[in-house]
């Protein structure tokens, strides 16, 4: 059939049942994204004869003879693969000026929708944008973009650090040109699909592949018989031994509904699907256990045969129960004596539910052999180097025979600190010798990727009459699901900064992570802290109420301050120090902001109004080693090429790297070209997780750039006979006492380059204080946020606009977890909420503006005084919201989410 796309008449062959989204991508329009493929997220929005539609829902045959506009053609007609337009559409320009994106994966659909709104719709974005989901921004920046409110500074700013520079990829993102993982045509590409288990615990007796192999187009069927025997962990850390080696690429034993059973590789996705349907699998069912408490009973069904797994080295299990994945125990002081001396004690159990990252780009990878035969993977990952290393170990390949690269990554939030697809793609490439693509579906992401660890935290805190804490005790039970990826790290971390934040002489932690026959939990923004902080900060609020102390004052009296040891439950020496301290400022400024502005009016006179707050501390770098290398070289034209290992997935580090290098080299960021997220780019990079993008890789970059600056001054000094200390770098030259030496001239003298390395130690601490005023309906249980404030201690804020975005996005994601999101399981252990329609992540209507306030500090540890600020904004939100609801209603809520149907009884009972 014929259709017109972006002004180009195109001929297309449409398959029966094909939707327009895949047709457009087949035609080379990669700006059309897949976030859900089900009409919920809006990432695939295009215009059909000027009318915005979700292209994943439009039967492709209905586009015959019609005119389609995609993001690529919004500013005017263009051909597939063309460069960005010279003149952007005003809405595209608005998204650049407001930086209305982070990872940018939702942005094409967001812009195509926003560009079609009339004046009235623009006044009510809560309604107009309800069909567009963004997981990164928290929507404030999007609302500003649509309203034409700009924030970005000019890209050629001098003194770049501290400047709100736009992301270097801005033009590519708003015009749909930036290539994400799968935005690449590849001849001869095979497609991989996975058969997933319908049983929670079973042994595979046989897999009959005959019929599947007979399906036209099917090239290979992969089962456990084809997979390496070796076990690994999908969770990736610098030291792979941190996580339990308990997972196989394909395993004859099934441990959760949704686990891989087999894979079919075929010439088309349809053929691969047909192949899956033709597979015949015989299972022998085994008893299953879904609850972590039941899993630790003596007679519980075992998730793993203890002989089959190597426990993780981070928080290894101590007790003999085979369903224990990890344990954390420790005590300082005398906790019982501390409780005995308390004037008041509060004790309760707090339950955090299972939530999912819901990054808009689903897990995906393409693998192939390059011209030299080297295995290459283009993957949606936060950890390209650790993935490369894991593949080498698993498939027994030398390091120089595997390359992992990233395109732009469409969101991560910790979910891509896992190897969830690359192993299978590698197996398929090795088996077939052909390029293979595996794009997971949204439903696979909900039902078979990882989640936050559901946790029950029993908190007990004692305080003297003056509010000083006498003892803190945490008893934690974490559900790691069928596999132990991140079980130890999350448990360990959750119990650490949550109580190290308080100067209390007596502390005790008893923590357990249990295996169950449910989908595995994994790394997720906050990494255990949000769950523990929900308990600790709720308890602090109750104690403050009980003692008649203002909640901000309660923290002032008890929080650590420089000079206090940073101790959770161990007195062993560590490398965390007060590189800076801004908690006092955060408390003061959040409190003042809450007092200064009551926020929106409650929806009606019968609504109950209250306010609450909570604080959070985080170590700026994960423990146990985090490394980054950076290299920078002067190019022939006098610009610079900076190589770093870290991926860009909305964390904004690409912008920050340009700013840091430009600052060190006395130039402007537009003269820094970034080469990133490629195992060929630098020697090693642990990866962008644990909030390290700026503080570790940024440090390596700063060291490299500073070293190159010194070399350039010396080279210019030598040319002009000047003293190097009298030479100064400018935008494109070195100013010497006698003349300006152009950088291009210095480049003629041979390679000018430098390297830098950071090892992630010592570490510092960062703080966040969240405050809310809320209205709660006394009968329906509805909660509305009237005012939201977050004060953040990020050290030197290298890019205020971006850092604000990180805080807003963290608050929004945490509001989703606090109010709505709940990855529910059926009694058989399968996931009930496997689509966005049934798993509600915040939409524009759900997220209020958050007033972001930065403390004025300069860190002695981080690069240029900066501290991490990406996970931590999430952590205090649920507790602050619970505390505000308590203040409004009298009801103390001990389980998230605070959804109306879960809280209305407690609210009514408290009123009665």
């Amino acid at each position: 059939m014929r259709l017109t796309v972006n002004g180009q008449a195109q001929d297309a062959t449409v398959r029966p049942g094909q939707c327009l989204r895949t047709l457009l991508r087949d035609l080379g329009w990669f700006g059309v994204k897949k976030g859900c493929d089900a009409g919920d997220c809006g990432a695939c929005t295009v215009h059909l004869d000027g009318e915005p539609i979700h292209s994943c829902l439009l039967p492709a045959h209905r586009a015959e003879g019609h005119s389609i506009t995609t993001i690529e053609g919004l500013a005017g007609p263009c051909a597939p693969g063309s460069t960005p337009p010279d003149q952007l559409h005003p809405m595209q320009a608005g998204f650049v000026a407001a930086q209305g994106f982070q990872c940018g994966f939702c942005t094409p659909g967001m812009i195509m929708t926003a560009a079609a709104l009339d004046q009235g719709q623009r006044q009510d974005l809560a309604t107009a944008l309800k069909g567009n989901l963004c997981r990164c921004t928290g929507y404030r920046a999007i609302r500003d973009a649509v309203a034409g409110i700009g924030h970005a500074a000019a890209a050629d700013a001098h003194e770049p650090v501290g400047c709100s520079l736009p992301a270097p990829a801005s033009l590519g993102i708003v015009s749909g040109r930036t290539a994400y993982t799968l935005d690449r045509a590849m001849p001869g590409l095979l497609h991989l699909k996975v058969l997933r288990s319908p049983h929670a615990h079973a042994e595979i007796l046989s897999i009959d592949r005959t019929a599947a192999l007979a399906v036209p187009g099917v090239v290979a069927v992969l089962t456990h018989e084809d997979a390496p025997q070796a076990r690994f962990s999908t969770g990736r850390h610098e030291d792979p031994r941190d996580d339990a080696a308990d997972t196989r690429v394909l395993d004859p034993v099934i441990r959760f509904i949704g686990q891989r059973v087999a894979a079919v590789v075929a010439e088309s996705e349809a053929a691969a699907q047909a192949g899956l349907r033709a597979l015949r699998v015989e299972y022998r069912l085994r008893p299953a256990v879904f609850d972590p408490e039941e899993a630790l009973r003596p007679d519980a069904p075992l998730v793993h045969d203890p002989a089959d797994r190597t426990p993780g080295a981070d928080a290894p299990p101590l007790h003999p129960h085979p369903n224990l994945a990890a344990e954390a125990h420790g005590e300082v002081g005398d906790v019982e004596a501390g409780f005995a001396s308390a004037h008041r004690i509060y004790e309760a159990e707090y339950v955090s539910q299972r939530v999912q990252h819901a990054h808009l780009e689903t897990h995906a990878a393409i693998g192939w052999r390059d011209e030299a035969g080297r295995l290459t993977l283009r993957a949606s990952t936060q950890v390209p180097f650790l993935t490369r290393d894991a593949l080498c170990a698993l498939f027994d390949l030398p390091r120089d025979q595997v390359r992992v690269v990233c395109g732009r990554v469409g969101g991560g939030f910790g979910g891509k600190q896992e190897m969830l697809v690359e192993d299978l793609v590698t197996l398929a490439v090795l088996k077939t010798g052909r390029p293979v693509k595996y794009e997971t579906t949204r439903t696979e992401n909900f039902s078979a990727a990882t989640t936050r660890h559901p946790m029950r935290v029993r908190v007990k805190i004692g305080a003297a009459a003056d509010g000083r804490l006498t003892a803190i005790s945490l008893k934690v039970l974490s559900n790691t699901g069928a596999y132990g990826n991140h079980a130890g790290g999350v448990l360990h971390h959750g119990c650490n900064e949550s109580i190290a934040a308080y100067a209390c002489p007596n502390k005790r932690v008893e923590g357990y992570a249990a295996y169950t026959h449910t989908l595995p939990a994994g790394a997720f923004r906050g990494y255990g802290l949000s769950q523990a902080i929900f308990a600790v900060e709720s308890a602090m609020d109750e104690l403050a109420r009980d003692l008649g102390i203002d909640p901000f004052d309660m923290r002032r009296r008890n929080a650590v301050r420089p000079g206090d040891p940073l101790v959770s439950t161990s007195l062993e020496p560590h490398d965390v120090r007060y590189g800076s301290y801004g908690l006092d400022q955060c408390l003061d400024r959040a409190q003042a902001a809450l007092a200064a502005d009551p926020g929106a009016a409650p929806p009606g006179p019968d609504w109950l109004v209250g306010q609450g707050m909570a604080m959070a501390m985080i170590d700026t770098v994960p423990p146990r080693g985090h490394f980054a290398h950076a290299g920078i070289r002067l190019e022939a034209d006098g610009t610079y090429a900076l190589s770093v290992g870290t991926a860009e997935f909305g964390n904004g580090t690409s912008t920050v790297h340009g700013q840091i290098a430009a600052q060190a080299l006395g130039t402007t960021p537009d003269r820094i070209r970034l080469i990133q997220a490629d195992t060929d780019a630098v020697a090693h990079d642990t990866g962008a997780y644990g909030s390290t993008g700026t503080v570790v890789a940024g440090q390596a970059n700063f060291l490299a750039s500073s070293a190159l600056a010194q070399k350039l001054r010396e080279a210019a000094a030598e040319k002009t006979g000047a003293d190097p200390t009298a030479c100064r770098l400018t935008r494109d030259s070195v100013a010497t006492p006698t003349r300006l030496v152009p950088l291009a001239e210095l480049a003629e003298g041979g390679a000018m380059a430098a390297e830098g390395r950071a090892d992630g130690t010592p570490r510092s601490v960062a703080f966040n204080v969240q405050a809310f005023r809320v209205a709660v309906h006394p009968q329906t249980g509805e909660v509305r946020i009237l005012k939201s404030i977050q004060a953040a201690d990020a050290g030197t804020v290298i890019n205020p606009m971006q850092c604000r975005g990180q805080v807003e996005g963290g608050v929004a994601q945490a509001l989703g977890a606090a109010l709505y999101e709940n990855l529910r399981l059926e009694p058989d252990g399968s996931v009930l909420t496997a689509t966005f329609r049934n798993y509600h992540i915040p939409a524009c209507a759900d997220v209020p503006d958050t007033q972001v306030i930065f403390a004025d500090t300069h860190d002695s540890v981080g690069p240029l005084g900066a501290k991490s600020m990406s996970e931590s904004p999430f952590n205090p939100v649920a507790a602050a919201l619970g505390n505000a609801i308590r203040d409004a209603t009298g009801a103390r809520l001990t389980a998230t989410p605070f959804a109306p149907d879960r809280i209305f009884r407690a609210v009514m009972d408290a009123q009665a």
Binding site: R15, P16, G17, Q18, C19, R21, T22, D37, A38, G39, D40, G42, T45, E51, P52, I53, H54, C56, L57, L58, P59, H61, R62, T113, Q121, A126, T127, A128, L129, K130, G131, N132, E269, A270, Q273, A274, R277, Q779, T780, G781, E782, L819, Y820, N822, R824, L832, T835, R837, N838, Y839, H840, P842, A843, A845, D846, P900, D901, R902, F904, R905
Partner: protein
């Protein structure tokens, strides 16, 4: 998403051209549900777009909405001033979980045939005494009230090969006073309870949807007292008769339905 088991799309140009129904066939109206999830049991789509059914027909006695009338067409239609129930149309369109982009494609008939408890077109047409005109494989038509058409979640009275042709509502229903209330777990989420009250000289009716597996209608000769209305709700919907899914726990749905019903009663008492 791609429906990869489909081997043919048939596009009849008129009612006489509709192919004989086979196992594995599906009627394709807007496609906004059909293409939103895998449909492994389907092999053919019969596209209704070419049938040319007029979206909205009305005369002094009747309003008739074609099954293929889109939500957008319905929402932008201008209604006679005497049809004071017309604001319900916009309220129910806005109650759709899908955005205005979905309205451009989703159809009234599709919403009824999906038979989800929260289907707002079910609420609208049930509250306005709608009846479904169903066309059989032989071309013969039968009628069924909306209340009898929707049997439960994703279950209708349609028999194999039957197609929903249109929904007819008496003009008298559109001349009634109405009150609309809905609630959901998030501000613009899928309705947990959607209730509509109507009142005229003939009496008062309360239509309960979303909180029950299928629409439920209570009728009174006049506006009842508060206790009478609550008692009637209890009598009509047993304790285990409230819908249970991720969009609202049944006890909450029961509770808020009572609250919304009372608000409607008070509004229409004035």
């Amino acid at each position: 998403m791609d429906l990869d088991t489909i081997t043919a799309v048939l596009a009849p140009r008129g009612s006489d051209d509709i192919p004989e129904w086979r196992e594995g066939d599906a009627w394709l109206a807007g496609g906004t549900w059909l293409f939103s999830q895998p449909q492994p049991g389907l092999t053919r789509l019969i596209d209704l777009a070419g049938l040319g059914w007029p979206a909205i027909e009305r005369d002094a006695e009747t309003l008739s909405l074609s099954a293929t009338c889109t939500i957008a067409e319905l929402d932008r239609h201008e209604w006679p001033a005497a049809w004071i129930a017309a604001p319900l149309v916009g309220q129910c369109c806005r109650a759709l979980l899908g955005s205005f982009k979905i309205w451009n494609r989703a159809t009234v008939g599709g919403n009824l045939c999906m038979a989800l408890p929260a289907g707002p077109m079910i609420a609208l047409t049930a509250a306005l005494d709608g009846s479904c005109v169903i066309r059989g494989p032989d071309g013969a038509e039968r009628r069924l009230s909306v209340l009898d058409f929707v049997l439960g979640p994703q279950e209708t009275a349609l028999r194999s090969g039957e197609i929903l042709r249109r929904i007819a509502m008496p003009a008298a229903a559109l001349r009634r006073r109405t009150a609309f209330r809905r609630i959901s777990l998030s501000p613009n989420g899928r309705s947990g309870a959607l209730t509509i009250g109507t009142r005229d000289a003939e009496g008062f009716a309360l239509t309960v949807t979303a909180s029950t597996p299928r629409p439920c209608q209570l009728r009174f000769p006049g506006v009842p007292e508060a206790a009478e209305l609550q008692a009637a709700l209890h009598a009509a919907i047993p304790d285990d008769g409230w819908y249970d899914d991720v969009h609202g726990a049944p006890d909450w749905r029961a509770h808020v339905t009572g609250l919304l019903a009372e608000e409607i009663r008070q509004e229409l008492s004035l």
